[in-house]
Protein backbone atom coordinates (compact mmCIF):
# COMPACT_ATOMS: atom_id res chain seq x y z
CA UNK A 1 0.00 0.00 0.00
CA UNK A 2 1.45 3.38 -0.92
CA UNK A 3 0.96 6.11 1.71
CA UNK A 4 -0.78 9.22 0.40
CA UNK A 5 1.36 11.63 2.21
CA UNK A 6 4.56 10.63 4.01
CA UNK A 7 6.11 12.95 6.59
CA UNK A 8 9.25 12.56 8.68
CA UNK A 9 7.04 12.05 11.73
CA UNK A 10 5.75 8.81 10.27
CA UNK A 11 9.24 7.39 10.31
CA UNK A 12 10.16 8.43 13.87
CA UNK A 13 10.32 6.02 16.77
CA UNK A 14 8.45 6.73 19.94
CA UNK A 15 10.13 8.83 22.60
CA UNK A 16 10.05 5.96 25.13
CA UNK A 17 11.92 3.68 22.81
CA UNK A 18 14.52 6.32 22.11
CA UNK A 19 15.12 6.89 25.82
CA UNK A 20 15.43 3.19 26.42
CA UNK A 21 18.00 2.70 23.72
CA UNK A 22 19.95 5.70 25.00
CA UNK A 23 19.97 4.26 28.52
CA UNK A 24 21.27 0.92 27.31
CA UNK A 25 23.94 2.72 25.35
CA UNK A 26 25.11 4.61 28.46
CA UNK A 27 25.11 1.45 30.55
CA UNK A 28 27.37 -0.33 28.09
CA UNK A 29 29.61 2.67 27.85
CA UNK A 30 29.85 2.78 31.62
CA UNK A 31 30.89 -0.85 31.75
CA UNK A 32 33.58 -0.23 29.16
CA UNK A 33 34.76 2.85 31.04
CA UNK A 34 35.09 0.92 34.30
CA UNK A 35 37.49 -1.58 32.76
CA UNK A 36 39.59 1.19 31.30
CA UNK A 37 39.57 3.04 34.61
CA UNK A 38 40.60 -0.02 36.59
CA UNK A 39 43.45 -0.73 34.20
CA UNK A 40 44.64 2.85 34.50
CA UNK A 41 44.43 2.66 38.28
CA UNK A 42 46.51 -0.51 38.39
CA UNK A 43 49.15 0.95 36.12
CA UNK A 44 49.28 4.13 38.17
CA UNK A 45 49.62 2.31 41.51
CA UNK A 46 52.33 0.01 40.22
CA UNK A 47 54.19 2.78 38.42
CA UNK A 48 54.21 5.18 41.35
CA UNK A 49 55.34 2.45 43.76
CA UNK A 50 58.03 1.44 41.33
CA UNK A 51 59.13 5.05 41.03
CA UNK A 52 59.44 5.43 44.80
CA UNK A 53 61.65 2.38 44.82
CA UNK A 54 63.82 3.43 41.89
CA UNK A 55 64.33 6.95 43.13
CA UNK A 56 65.36 5.87 46.63
CA UNK A 57 67.33 2.69 46.13
CA UNK A 58 71.10 2.70 45.96
CA UNK A 59 71.96 1.31 42.57
CA UNK A 60 74.76 -0.90 43.83
CA UNK A 61 72.12 -2.73 45.79
CA UNK A 62 70.49 -3.86 42.55
CA UNK A 63 73.45 -5.99 41.60
CA UNK A 64 74.48 -7.64 44.83
CA UNK A 65 74.81 -11.27 45.85
CA UNK A 66 71.15 -12.14 45.84
CA UNK A 67 67.60 -11.17 46.62
CA UNK A 68 67.32 -10.27 50.32
CA UNK A 69 64.86 -7.41 50.40
CA UNK A 70 64.79 -7.09 54.19
CA UNK A 71 68.53 -6.66 54.27
CA UNK A 72 68.26 -4.13 51.49
CA UNK A 73 69.83 -6.36 48.84
CA UNK A 74 67.81 -6.29 45.66
CA UNK A 75 69.83 -8.25 43.12
CA UNK A 76 67.56 -8.28 40.08
CA UNK A 77 69.78 -10.65 38.13
CA UNK A 78 68.96 -13.43 40.57
CA UNK A 79 65.25 -13.12 39.97
CA UNK A 80 65.54 -12.53 36.23
CA UNK A 81 67.80 -15.53 35.75
CA UNK A 82 65.52 -17.77 37.78
CA UNK A 83 62.44 -16.55 35.94
CA UNK A 84 64.15 -17.09 32.61
CA UNK A 85 65.41 -20.55 33.53
CA UNK A 86 62.04 -21.73 34.75
CA UNK A 87 60.17 -20.28 31.78
CA UNK A 88 62.58 -21.82 29.31
CA UNK A 89 62.24 -25.23 30.93
CA UNK A 90 58.48 -24.77 30.89
CA UNK A 91 58.53 -23.95 27.19
CA UNK A 92 60.83 -26.88 26.47
CA UNK A 93 58.14 -29.06 28.02
CA UNK A 94 55.06 -27.28 26.73
CA UNK A 95 55.92 -26.38 23.13
CA UNK A 96 56.73 -29.86 21.82
CA UNK A 97 53.90 -31.56 23.65
CA UNK A 98 51.46 -28.74 22.98
CA UNK A 99 52.22 -28.68 19.26
CA UNK A 100 52.31 -32.46 19.16
CA UNK A 101 48.91 -32.72 20.79
CA UNK A 102 47.53 -30.04 18.48
CA UNK A 103 48.82 -31.77 15.34
CA UNK A 104 47.53 -35.09 16.53
CA UNK A 105 44.09 -33.74 17.33
CA UNK A 106 43.77 -31.68 14.19
CA UNK A 107 45.45 -33.85 11.57
CA UNK A 108 45.36 -37.43 12.76
CA UNK A 109 42.81 -38.14 15.45
CA UNK A 110 39.62 -39.88 14.51
CA UNK A 111 36.66 -37.66 15.45
CA UNK A 112 35.73 -40.13 18.16
CA UNK A 113 39.20 -39.88 19.70
CA UNK A 114 39.09 -36.11 19.44
CA UNK A 115 35.79 -36.00 21.25
CA UNK A 116 37.45 -37.67 24.23
CA UNK A 117 40.86 -36.04 24.09
CA UNK A 118 39.83 -32.43 23.70
CA UNK A 119 37.88 -32.31 27.00
CA UNK A 120 40.71 -34.18 28.73
CA UNK A 121 43.09 -31.49 27.59
CA UNK A 122 40.74 -28.82 28.83
CA UNK A 123 40.53 -30.63 32.14
CA UNK A 124 44.29 -30.26 32.46
CA UNK A 125 43.81 -26.56 31.79
CA UNK A 126 41.42 -26.31 34.69
CA UNK A 127 43.79 -27.83 37.25
CA UNK A 128 44.47 -25.02 39.74
CA UNK A 129 48.11 -23.99 39.70
CA UNK A 130 48.44 -24.57 43.43
CA UNK A 131 47.67 -28.24 42.79
CA UNK A 132 50.42 -28.42 40.19
CA UNK A 133 52.81 -26.80 42.67
CA UNK A 134 52.04 -29.46 45.20
CA UNK A 135 52.31 -32.11 42.47
CA UNK A 136 55.83 -30.85 41.76
CA UNK A 137 57.08 -31.26 45.33
CA UNK A 138 55.15 -34.40 46.09
CA UNK A 139 55.74 -36.28 42.85
CA UNK A 140 57.97 -34.69 40.20
CA UNK A 141 60.91 -34.10 42.51
CA UNK A 142 60.78 -37.10 44.87
CA UNK A 143 59.52 -39.78 42.47
CA UNK A 144 61.16 -38.76 39.24
CA UNK A 145 63.95 -36.24 39.45
CA UNK A 146 65.74 -37.76 42.46
CA UNK A 147 66.18 -40.96 40.45
CA UNK A 148 68.23 -39.09 37.88
CA UNK A 149 69.88 -36.37 39.93
CA UNK A 150 70.80 -37.55 43.39
CA UNK A 151 72.08 -34.15 44.52
CA UNK A 152 68.85 -32.35 43.69
CA UNK A 153 67.32 -30.02 46.29
CA UNK A 154 63.82 -30.74 47.55
CA UNK A 155 62.82 -27.32 46.22
CA UNK A 156 64.33 -26.80 42.79
CA UNK A 157 63.87 -24.81 39.61
CA UNK A 158 63.78 -27.88 37.37
CA UNK A 159 60.64 -29.31 38.96
CA UNK A 160 59.09 -25.85 39.03
CA UNK A 161 59.82 -25.43 35.31
CA UNK A 162 58.35 -28.82 34.47
CA UNK A 163 55.22 -28.12 36.49
CA UNK A 164 54.77 -24.70 34.85
CA UNK A 165 55.25 -26.48 31.53
CA UNK A 166 52.43 -28.90 32.36
CA UNK A 167 50.29 -25.92 33.24
CA UNK A 168 50.98 -24.25 29.90
CA UNK A 169 50.56 -27.33 27.66
CA UNK A 170 46.77 -27.09 27.35
CA UNK A 171 46.98 -23.39 26.60
CA UNK A 172 49.48 -23.90 23.80
CA UNK A 173 47.75 -27.03 22.54
CA UNK A 174 44.39 -25.37 22.38
CA UNK A 175 45.53 -22.19 20.59
CA UNK A 176 47.65 -24.26 18.20
CA UNK A 177 44.84 -26.65 17.47
CA UNK A 178 42.56 -23.77 16.59
CA UNK A 179 45.25 -22.43 14.29
CA UNK A 180 45.70 -25.79 12.59
CA UNK A 181 42.01 -26.39 12.17
CA UNK A 182 41.61 -22.96 10.66
CA UNK A 183 43.76 -24.10 7.73
CA UNK A 184 41.29 -24.76 4.92
CA UNK A 185 40.56 -28.38 4.14
CA UNK A 186 40.98 -27.47 0.47
CA UNK A 187 44.73 -27.07 1.03
CA UNK A 188 44.99 -30.53 2.55
CA UNK A 189 43.05 -31.95 -0.40
CA UNK A 190 45.29 -30.13 -2.86
CA UNK A 191 48.33 -31.60 -1.19
CA UNK A 192 46.91 -35.10 -1.00
CA UNK A 193 45.86 -34.82 -4.64
CA UNK A 194 49.48 -34.29 -5.59
CA UNK A 195 50.51 -37.49 -3.89
CA UNK A 196 51.58 -36.18 -0.50
CA UNK A 197 51.34 -38.35 2.56
CA UNK A 198 49.69 -37.04 5.67
CA UNK A 199 53.01 -36.21 7.36
CA UNK A 200 54.15 -34.32 4.32
CA UNK A 201 50.92 -32.38 4.15
CA UNK A 202 51.16 -31.57 7.86
CA UNK A 203 54.74 -30.35 7.64
CA UNK A 204 54.79 -28.63 4.28
CA UNK A 205 51.31 -27.21 3.97
CA UNK A 206 49.47 -27.11 7.27
CA UNK A 207 52.43 -26.03 9.42
CA UNK A 208 53.46 -23.02 7.31
CA UNK A 209 49.85 -21.98 6.81
CA UNK A 210 49.26 -22.05 10.56
CA UNK A 211 52.63 -20.55 11.47
CA UNK A 212 51.35 -17.25 12.75
CA UNK A 213 48.87 -19.00 15.03
CA UNK A 214 51.57 -21.33 16.32
CA UNK A 215 53.83 -18.37 17.06
CA UNK A 216 50.97 -16.69 18.87
CA UNK A 217 50.44 -19.84 20.92
CA UNK A 218 54.11 -19.91 21.86
CA UNK A 219 54.15 -16.30 22.92
CA UNK A 220 50.95 -16.49 24.91
CA UNK A 221 52.37 -19.62 26.54
CA UNK A 222 55.62 -17.85 27.37
CA UNK A 223 53.98 -14.88 28.98
CA UNK A 224 51.78 -17.23 30.95
CA UNK A 225 54.87 -19.14 32.09
CA UNK A 226 56.77 -16.07 33.12
CA UNK A 227 53.79 -14.72 35.01
CA UNK A 228 53.01 -17.99 36.80
CA UNK A 229 53.30 -17.49 40.54
CA UNK A 230 51.86 -20.24 42.66
CA UNK A 231 53.69 -23.17 41.10
CA UNK A 232 57.08 -21.51 41.43
CA UNK A 233 56.38 -20.21 44.91
CA UNK A 234 55.68 -23.74 46.08
CA UNK A 235 58.01 -25.82 43.97
CA UNK A 236 61.04 -23.64 43.55
CA UNK A 237 60.99 -22.52 47.14
CA UNK A 238 62.58 -19.17 46.46
CA UNK A 239 60.20 -17.39 48.71
CA UNK A 240 61.33 -14.20 50.31
CA UNK A 241 65.06 -14.64 49.83
CA UNK A 242 67.32 -16.30 47.34
CA UNK A 243 70.99 -16.42 46.66
CA UNK A 244 72.23 -16.03 43.11
CA UNK A 245 72.87 -19.41 41.53
CA UNK A 246 72.60 -20.94 38.09
CA UNK A 247 71.96 -24.53 39.08
CA UNK A 248 68.58 -25.92 38.09
CA UNK A 249 68.79 -28.34 41.01
CA UNK A 250 68.78 -25.55 43.57
CA UNK A 251 65.89 -23.52 44.83
CA UNK A 252 65.47 -19.98 43.61
CA UNK A 253 62.92 -17.22 43.61
CA UNK A 254 61.48 -15.63 40.52
CA UNK A 255 60.02 -12.20 39.89
CA UNK A 256 56.60 -13.57 40.70
CA UNK A 257 57.42 -15.66 43.74
CA UNK A 258 59.43 -12.79 45.22
CA UNK A 259 56.40 -10.56 44.76
CA UNK A 260 54.14 -13.12 46.39
CA UNK A 261 56.47 -13.38 49.36
CA UNK A 262 56.66 -9.62 49.71
CA UNK A 263 52.93 -9.29 49.38
CA UNK A 264 52.31 -11.83 52.14
CA UNK A 265 54.42 -9.60 54.33
CA UNK A 266 55.24 -12.29 56.85
CA UNK A 267 58.01 -10.24 58.40
CA UNK A 268 56.35 -6.86 58.68
CA UNK A 269 57.65 -6.02 55.28
CA UNK A 270 55.62 -2.88 55.02
CA UNK A 271 57.44 0.13 56.35
CA UNK A 272 60.69 -1.77 56.57
CA UNK A 273 63.08 0.15 54.32
CA UNK A 274 62.35 -0.28 50.62
CA UNK A 275 61.24 -3.90 50.65
CA UNK A 276 57.56 -3.14 50.19
CA UNK A 277 58.27 -0.69 47.37
CA UNK A 278 60.35 -3.31 45.57
CA UNK A 279 57.13 -5.26 45.19
CA UNK A 280 55.81 -2.57 42.87
CA UNK A 281 59.06 -2.37 41.05
CA UNK A 282 59.00 -6.09 40.30
CA UNK A 283 55.39 -5.78 39.25
CA UNK A 284 56.23 -3.01 36.83
CA UNK A 285 59.11 -5.03 35.45
CA UNK A 286 56.94 -8.09 34.93
CA UNK A 287 54.24 -5.98 33.35
CA UNK A 288 56.71 -4.38 30.98
CA UNK A 289 58.17 -7.73 30.03
CA UNK A 290 54.83 -9.30 29.17
CA UNK A 291 53.86 -6.20 27.28
CA UNK A 292 57.03 -6.27 25.20
CA UNK A 293 56.60 -9.98 24.65
CA UNK A 294 53.08 -9.51 23.37
CA UNK A 295 54.14 -6.68 21.13
CA UNK A 296 57.00 -8.69 19.68
CA UNK A 297 54.55 -11.53 19.19
CA UNK A 298 52.16 -9.24 17.40
CA UNK A 299 54.88 -8.06 15.06
CA UNK A 300 55.99 -11.60 14.28
CA UNK A 301 52.46 -12.75 13.68
CA UNK A 302 51.73 -9.84 11.41
CA UNK A 303 54.93 -10.28 9.48
CA UNK A 304 54.19 -13.95 8.89
CA UNK A 305 50.70 -13.16 7.74
CA UNK A 306 51.94 -10.56 5.30
CA UNK A 307 54.50 -12.80 3.74
CA UNK A 308 52.00 -14.22 1.29
Amino acid sequence: MTPDHLTAADLQTSLGRRIRSQTVRWLFMGAAAVTVLVSALIIWTVASGAWTFISQVEFTRLTDIGWFPRRGLFDLTTLLVNSAQISVIAMAVAVPSGFGAAFYLSEYAHPRVRRVMKPTLELLASVPSVVLGVFAISFITPSILTNFFSEINFFNKLAAGIAVGLLVIPLIASISEDALRAVPQALREASAGLGARRVTTSIRVVLPAAMSGLMAATIVGFSRAIGETMVVTIASGGGDTSLYNLSLFESGGTLTSAMAALGLGTDQVAGNNLAFQSLFFLGALLFAMTLVLNMVGDVIVRRLQNRY
Binding site: A186, A192, L194, G195, V199
Partner: protein, 313 residues
Protein backbone atom coordinates in the same frame (compact mmCIF):
# COMPACT_ATOMS: atom_id res chain seq x y z
CA UNK B 1 56.03 -57.00 -15.29
CA UNK B 2 53.14 -56.79 -12.94
CA UNK B 3 51.30 -53.50 -13.25
CA UNK B 4 49.92 -53.93 -9.76
CA UNK B 5 53.35 -53.44 -8.25
CA UNK B 6 53.47 -49.88 -9.42
CA UNK B 7 50.68 -48.80 -7.10
CA UNK B 8 51.89 -50.53 -4.00
CA UNK B 9 53.57 -48.74 -1.17
CA UNK B 10 57.20 -48.32 -2.01
CA UNK B 11 60.20 -49.50 -0.06
CA UNK B 12 60.90 -47.41 3.04
CA UNK B 13 63.64 -45.21 1.56
CA UNK B 14 61.36 -44.06 -1.19
CA UNK B 15 58.77 -43.14 1.37
CA UNK B 16 61.27 -41.20 3.40
CA UNK B 17 61.73 -38.80 0.53
CA UNK B 18 58.28 -37.52 1.31
CA UNK B 19 59.44 -35.79 4.39
CA UNK B 20 62.90 -34.62 3.51
CA UNK B 21 64.00 -32.68 0.51
CA UNK B 22 66.63 -35.25 -0.22
CA UNK B 23 65.17 -38.04 -2.30
CA UNK B 24 66.64 -41.48 -2.40
CA UNK B 25 69.46 -42.22 -4.77
CA UNK B 26 67.38 -43.70 -7.56
CA UNK B 27 65.30 -40.60 -7.86
CA UNK B 28 68.15 -38.13 -8.02
CA UNK B 29 70.05 -40.20 -10.55
CA UNK B 30 67.38 -40.03 -13.15
CA UNK B 31 67.26 -37.40 -15.87
CA UNK B 32 65.51 -34.25 -15.09
CA UNK B 33 61.87 -34.29 -15.86
CA UNK B 34 58.95 -34.59 -13.57
CA UNK B 35 57.79 -37.69 -15.31
CA UNK B 36 60.94 -39.64 -14.75
CA UNK B 37 61.12 -38.24 -11.28
CA UNK B 38 57.79 -39.73 -10.47
CA UNK B 39 58.16 -43.02 -12.15
CA UNK B 40 61.79 -43.86 -11.72
CA UNK B 41 61.39 -44.81 -8.09
CA UNK B 42 58.59 -47.06 -8.97
CA UNK B 43 58.92 -50.40 -10.59
CA UNK B 44 57.59 -49.22 -13.90
CA UNK B 45 55.83 -51.69 -16.08
CA UNK B 46 55.28 -51.32 -19.77
CA UNK B 47 51.75 -50.27 -19.00
CA UNK B 48 52.73 -47.20 -17.11
CA UNK B 49 55.61 -45.95 -19.17
CA UNK B 50 53.65 -45.49 -22.34
CA UNK B 51 53.68 -48.69 -24.35
CA UNK B 52 50.01 -49.04 -23.72
CA UNK B 53 47.53 -49.73 -26.51
CA UNK B 54 46.46 -46.76 -28.62
CA UNK B 55 42.92 -46.38 -27.45
CA UNK B 56 43.15 -48.37 -24.27
CA UNK B 57 40.84 -48.29 -21.34
CA UNK B 58 42.12 -46.39 -18.33
CA UNK B 59 39.36 -47.04 -15.84
CA UNK B 60 36.80 -49.77 -15.66
CA UNK B 61 34.16 -49.13 -13.01
CA UNK B 62 31.80 -51.89 -12.11
CA UNK B 63 28.83 -51.59 -9.79
CA UNK B 64 30.31 -48.74 -7.81
CA UNK B 65 28.37 -47.70 -4.72
CA UNK B 66 29.52 -44.85 -2.52
CA UNK B 67 28.30 -44.37 1.03
CA UNK B 68 28.73 -41.46 3.41
CA UNK B 69 28.15 -43.27 6.67
CA UNK B 70 24.77 -44.93 6.21
CA UNK B 71 23.78 -42.65 3.39
CA UNK B 72 24.20 -44.15 -0.05
CA UNK B 73 25.13 -41.26 -2.33
CA UNK B 74 25.73 -43.25 -5.48
CA UNK B 75 24.36 -46.57 -6.67
CA UNK B 76 25.57 -49.14 -9.08
CA UNK B 77 27.67 -47.11 -11.49
CA UNK B 78 29.42 -49.02 -14.23
CA UNK B 79 31.37 -47.32 -16.96
CA UNK B 80 34.72 -47.44 -18.74
CA UNK B 81 36.92 -44.45 -19.35
CA UNK B 82 38.99 -44.40 -22.49
CA UNK B 83 42.55 -43.20 -22.68
CA UNK B 84 43.43 -39.79 -24.10
CA UNK B 85 39.92 -38.56 -24.21
CA UNK B 86 37.76 -36.16 -22.31
CA UNK B 87 34.94 -37.71 -20.36
CA UNK B 88 32.33 -35.32 -19.02
CA UNK B 89 30.17 -36.05 -15.99
CA UNK B 90 26.95 -34.08 -16.02
CA UNK B 91 23.75 -34.11 -14.02
CA UNK B 92 21.72 -32.13 -11.52
CA UNK B 93 23.25 -30.87 -8.30
CA UNK B 94 23.65 -33.50 -5.63
CA UNK B 95 23.52 -36.45 -8.00
CA UNK B 96 26.99 -37.58 -6.98
CA UNK B 97 29.24 -36.32 -9.77
CA UNK B 98 31.93 -35.08 -7.40
CA UNK B 99 31.53 -38.17 -5.29
CA UNK B 100 32.10 -40.36 -8.33
CA UNK B 101 35.02 -38.28 -9.58
CA UNK B 102 36.75 -38.64 -6.24
CA UNK B 103 36.61 -42.42 -6.56
CA UNK B 104 39.20 -42.35 -9.33
CA UNK B 105 42.03 -41.15 -7.08
CA UNK B 106 40.68 -42.39 -3.77
CA UNK B 107 40.07 -38.87 -2.62
CA UNK B 108 37.00 -40.08 -0.77
CA UNK B 109 39.43 -41.72 1.65
CA UNK B 110 39.95 -38.28 3.15
CA UNK B 111 36.32 -38.00 4.13
CA UNK B 112 35.50 -39.57 7.44
CA UNK B 113 32.91 -42.29 7.01
CA UNK B 114 33.02 -42.40 3.21
CA UNK B 115 33.07 -45.91 1.76
CA UNK B 116 33.37 -47.16 -1.79
CA UNK B 117 32.02 -50.53 -2.86
CA UNK B 118 32.30 -52.26 -6.20
CA UNK B 119 35.41 -52.14 -8.33
CA UNK B 120 37.33 -49.30 -9.89
CA UNK B 121 40.06 -50.76 -12.08
CA UNK B 122 42.93 -48.61 -13.23
CA UNK B 123 44.71 -50.33 -16.10
CA UNK B 124 43.36 -53.55 -14.71
CA UNK B 125 44.37 -52.94 -11.10
CA UNK B 126 41.59 -52.67 -8.56
CA UNK B 127 42.29 -49.38 -6.82
CA UNK B 128 40.39 -50.41 -3.73
CA UNK B 129 42.26 -53.58 -2.88
CA UNK B 130 44.16 -53.50 0.39
CA UNK B 131 47.64 -53.47 -1.09
CA UNK B 132 47.08 -50.32 -3.11
CA UNK B 133 48.52 -47.19 -1.58
CA UNK B 134 46.25 -44.21 -2.30
CA UNK B 135 49.28 -41.92 -2.33
CA UNK B 136 50.72 -43.77 -5.31
CA UNK B 137 47.35 -43.62 -7.03
CA UNK B 138 47.15 -39.86 -6.58
CA UNK B 139 50.57 -39.37 -8.13
CA UNK B 140 49.18 -40.88 -11.31
CA UNK B 141 45.69 -39.52 -11.11
CA UNK B 142 45.83 -35.79 -10.45
CA UNK B 143 42.99 -33.52 -9.52
CA UNK B 144 41.83 -29.96 -10.10
CA UNK B 145 39.21 -28.76 -7.67
CA UNK B 146 36.10 -26.69 -8.13
CA UNK B 147 37.47 -23.76 -6.17
CA UNK B 148 41.02 -22.74 -6.99
CA UNK B 149 43.09 -23.89 -4.02
CA UNK B 150 46.66 -22.70 -4.43
CA UNK B 151 48.96 -23.13 -1.45
CA UNK B 152 49.87 -19.97 0.46
CA UNK B 153 53.28 -20.16 -1.15
CA UNK B 154 54.95 -18.53 -4.11
CA UNK B 155 53.81 -19.33 -7.65
CA UNK B 156 57.04 -21.25 -8.14
CA UNK B 157 56.66 -23.28 -4.96
CA UNK B 158 53.09 -24.13 -5.84
CA UNK B 159 54.16 -25.78 -9.08
CA UNK B 160 57.29 -27.31 -7.59
CA UNK B 161 55.42 -28.87 -4.67
CA UNK B 162 54.46 -32.11 -6.41
CA UNK B 163 57.72 -32.62 -8.32
CA UNK B 164 59.67 -32.05 -5.10
CA UNK B 165 57.65 -34.76 -3.37
CA UNK B 166 58.40 -37.03 -6.29
CA UNK B 167 62.11 -36.40 -5.86
CA UNK B 168 62.79 -34.25 -8.89
CA UNK B 169 66.22 -32.69 -8.59
CA UNK B 170 66.49 -29.06 -7.59
CA UNK B 171 68.32 -28.23 -10.80
CA UNK B 172 65.52 -29.65 -12.89
CA UNK B 173 62.73 -27.82 -11.10
CA UNK B 174 63.04 -24.60 -13.09
CA UNK B 175 62.31 -26.46 -16.30
CA UNK B 176 59.41 -28.33 -14.79
CA UNK B 177 57.89 -25.10 -13.50
CA UNK B 178 58.28 -23.31 -16.80
CA UNK B 179 57.00 -26.26 -18.78
CA UNK B 180 53.92 -26.73 -16.63
CA UNK B 181 53.04 -23.05 -16.57
CA UNK B 182 53.49 -22.84 -20.31
CA UNK B 183 51.19 -25.77 -20.92
CA UNK B 184 48.61 -24.21 -18.60
CA UNK B 185 48.83 -20.99 -20.66
CA UNK B 186 49.98 -19.01 -17.66
CA UNK B 187 53.70 -18.65 -18.18
CA UNK B 188 53.66 -15.31 -19.99
CA UNK B 189 51.49 -13.76 -17.32
CA UNK B 190 53.58 -14.85 -14.36
CA UNK B 191 57.13 -15.39 -15.57
CA UNK B 192 58.30 -12.15 -13.98
CA UNK B 193 56.79 -12.83 -10.61
CA UNK B 194 57.37 -16.48 -9.90
CA UNK B 195 58.55 -15.72 -6.38
CA UNK B 196 55.43 -13.82 -5.51
CA UNK B 197 52.48 -15.26 -3.65
CA UNK B 198 50.00 -17.28 -5.65
CA UNK B 199 47.29 -15.44 -3.73
CA UNK B 200 48.10 -12.34 -5.75
CA UNK B 201 46.72 -13.95 -8.90
CA UNK B 202 43.19 -13.52 -10.16
CA UNK B 203 40.69 -16.36 -9.77
CA UNK B 204 41.15 -17.51 -13.36
CA UNK B 205 44.92 -17.36 -13.07
CA UNK B 206 44.76 -19.28 -9.81
CA UNK B 207 42.73 -22.01 -11.45
CA UNK B 208 45.23 -22.28 -14.30
CA UNK B 209 47.95 -22.38 -11.66
CA UNK B 210 46.17 -25.32 -10.05
CA UNK B 211 46.00 -27.04 -13.42
CA UNK B 212 49.70 -26.38 -13.95
CA UNK B 213 50.40 -27.73 -10.48
CA UNK B 214 48.43 -30.88 -11.26
CA UNK B 215 50.21 -31.55 -14.55
CA UNK B 216 53.65 -30.74 -13.11
CA UNK B 217 53.82 -34.25 -11.68
CA UNK B 218 53.03 -35.75 -15.09
CA UNK B 219 49.99 -37.72 -14.07
CA UNK B 220 48.28 -40.11 -16.44
CA UNK B 221 44.85 -38.79 -15.66
CA UNK B 222 43.60 -35.36 -14.64
CA UNK B 223 40.32 -35.18 -12.78
CA UNK B 224 38.59 -31.81 -12.91
CA UNK B 225 35.65 -30.90 -10.71
CA UNK B 226 33.85 -27.95 -12.28
CA UNK B 227 37.13 -26.19 -12.97
CA UNK B 228 35.42 -23.21 -14.60
CA UNK B 229 32.56 -22.65 -12.20
CA UNK B 230 34.22 -19.61 -10.63
CA UNK B 231 35.54 -18.14 -13.85
CA UNK B 232 34.47 -15.54 -16.38
CA UNK B 233 33.89 -16.55 -20.03
CA UNK B 234 37.37 -15.52 -21.15
CA UNK B 235 39.14 -17.54 -18.49
CA UNK B 236 36.74 -20.39 -19.18
CA UNK B 237 37.62 -20.26 -22.87
CA UNK B 238 41.29 -20.42 -21.98
CA UNK B 239 40.80 -23.45 -19.82
CA UNK B 240 38.72 -25.18 -22.46
CA UNK B 241 41.49 -24.65 -25.00
CA UNK B 242 43.89 -26.01 -22.47
CA UNK B 243 41.80 -29.13 -21.94
CA UNK B 244 41.68 -29.70 -25.69
CA UNK B 245 45.46 -29.51 -25.75
CA UNK B 246 46.00 -31.62 -22.69
CA UNK B 247 43.96 -34.52 -23.95
CA UNK B 248 46.65 -35.44 -26.43
CA UNK B 249 48.79 -36.40 -23.46
CA UNK B 250 46.42 -37.00 -20.62
CA UNK B 251 43.14 -38.67 -19.92
CA UNK B 252 40.71 -36.13 -18.58
CA UNK B 253 37.55 -36.62 -16.59
CA UNK B 254 35.63 -33.43 -16.00
CA UNK B 255 32.53 -32.55 -14.02
CA UNK B 256 30.62 -29.66 -15.45
CA UNK B 257 27.27 -27.95 -15.02
CA UNK B 258 27.62 -26.25 -18.34
CA UNK B 259 25.97 -28.25 -21.11
CA UNK B 260 27.63 -26.29 -23.88
CA UNK B 261 30.96 -26.86 -22.28
CA UNK B 262 30.40 -30.59 -22.07
CA UNK B 263 29.32 -30.58 -25.69
CA UNK B 264 32.33 -28.54 -26.78
CA UNK B 265 35.13 -30.33 -25.04
CA UNK B 266 34.19 -33.90 -24.28
CA UNK B 267 34.33 -37.10 -26.26
CA UNK B 268 32.17 -39.12 -23.91
CA UNK B 269 29.44 -37.91 -21.59
CA UNK B 270 27.98 -39.59 -18.55
CA UNK B 271 24.64 -38.31 -17.35
CA UNK B 272 23.82 -38.86 -13.68
CA UNK B 273 20.55 -38.30 -11.96
CA UNK B 274 19.10 -38.66 -8.50
CA UNK B 275 16.42 -41.11 -7.62
CA UNK B 276 14.50 -40.74 -4.41
CA UNK B 277 13.45 -44.09 -2.97
CA UNK B 278 10.31 -44.79 -1.02
CA UNK B 279 11.98 -43.65 2.21
CA UNK B 280 13.02 -40.36 0.71
CA UNK B 281 16.72 -41.16 0.42
CA UNK B 282 18.15 -39.52 -2.64
CA UNK B 283 20.65 -41.75 -4.35
CA UNK B 284 22.55 -40.81 -7.46
CA UNK B 285 22.80 -43.15 -10.39
CA UNK B 286 24.20 -43.27 -13.88
CA UNK B 287 21.42 -42.80 -16.40
CA UNK B 288 23.26 -42.83 -19.65
CA UNK B 289 26.83 -43.01 -20.86
CA UNK B 290 27.55 -42.48 -24.54
CA UNK B 291 29.61 -40.49 -27.01
CA UNK B 292 28.96 -36.81 -26.45
CA UNK B 293 27.58 -36.24 -29.94
CA UNK B 294 24.96 -38.91 -29.31
CA UNK B 295 23.99 -37.69 -25.86
CA UNK B 296 23.36 -34.21 -27.14
CA UNK B 297 21.59 -35.13 -30.35
CA UNK B 298 19.89 -38.38 -29.77
CA UNK B 299 19.86 -39.48 -26.14
CA UNK B 300 18.44 -42.88 -25.30
CA UNK B 301 16.83 -41.96 -22.05
CA UNK B 302 14.01 -39.43 -21.75
CA UNK B 303 15.55 -38.12 -18.51
CA UNK B 304 18.73 -37.25 -20.34
CA UNK B 305 16.81 -35.46 -23.02
CA UNK B 306 14.81 -33.53 -20.45
CA UNK B 307 17.96 -32.47 -18.67
CA UNK B 308 19.99 -31.36 -21.64
CA UNK B 309 17.15 -29.49 -23.19
CA UNK B 310 16.57 -27.64 -19.95
CA UNK B 311 13.45 -29.42 -18.79
CA UNK B 312 15.36 -30.52 -15.75
CA UNK B 313 14.72 -34.13 -14.81
Amino acid sequence: MNPEKALMTQEPDARASDVSDAPDATASDVPATAATGVHARIDVSGVVSGQRPEAGTVFECAEVDVYYGDFRALRDVSLDVAEHGVTALIGPSGCGKSTFLRCFNRMNDLIEGARVEGTVNYYGVDLYQDEVDPVEVRRRVGMVFQKPNPFPKSIYDNIAYGPRLAGVKRSALDDVVEGSLTRAALWDEVKDRLKMSAYGLSGGQQQRLCIARAIAVQPDVVLMDEPCSALDPIATGRIEELIAELKTEYTIIIVTHNMQQAARISDMTAFFSVQANEMGHRTGELVEYAPTSLIFTNPDDPRTEAYITGRVG
